[in-house]
Amino acid sequence: MEYKLRKAEPRDVSDILRLVKELAKYEEMEDQVMLTEKELLEDGFGDTPFYHCILAEIQGENGTDDLKVVGFAMYYFTYDPWSGKQLYLEDFYVMDKYRGMGIGSAILKQLSDLAMKTRCTGMMFVVAENNESSINFYKQRGAEDLSEEEGWRLYKFHKEDLLKLAAPAEE
């Protein structure tokens, strides 16, 4: 089965949201996806995009001209004050049915090509520690688990605490 990788366009937001939800389901956190197609459209295809997206597309199964989006990677650029620009991989997913064909590897290769071209010194992401197949996929390709090797832990402030933090200091 042949596939093609391409940059996402505004018309792709419904496919992007569909795959975002499928990935969240795989991570057992489906009910946490609050984002809408409208927000994805504004945030990704407005004046200042917050993210970029690569899609993997295959020919429709019934030999029709229909193309089907079966995988995606969403990324953006972050900054490491020690070494400079980084490519941050936020979401990376290939539908179950279409795995084992090299789509994931091809997406990762295209991302690392892009990282080199844009002068990034690294490519980063988070993985859940129970996601053994993903962890092996990355470790086989030379990735380092910084949480394990250097002791980094990811912290988050939720909205309610964020608002409290943002409140002006009492005089």
Partner: protein
Amino acid sequence: MPDQVLISYKELQHDGFRQNPFFQCLLAEVLEEHKSKEGHTIVGYALYYYTYSTWKGPSVYLEDLYVMPEFRGKGIGKNLLSKVAQVAKEKHCARLQMSVLDWNTPSRDFYAAKGAQDLTVSEGWHFIRFDGQALDNLANEAPKD
């Protein structure tokens, strides 16, 4: 980990002050009469950038937060963090995230006291990175036929 700092002043200038900057930086500045032993009036900083959550939308990531030891205990760190939270609020960001080293108990306590959650502990998230030779190899991998 000072031997890991490879960036130059020129790169910081180019990356932070162009059309679409890769980072934003808040500085804590004291008056001339309170300057440090070496004569610095910039005594702390918070470096952050915008990220994107496919679940919640735009977020802020606090990459660096630092106050010179001489100036700690005066609320400068708290104020820098509040200012970053204000930016997040103004830009309608749903979250503020950062990473902390496991042995850095004062920082872990500082954030936990303000309501932050350690996602590595509570949800099992680990930070993964490809850099240097591994990134290079990945980029040069022969395509499958």
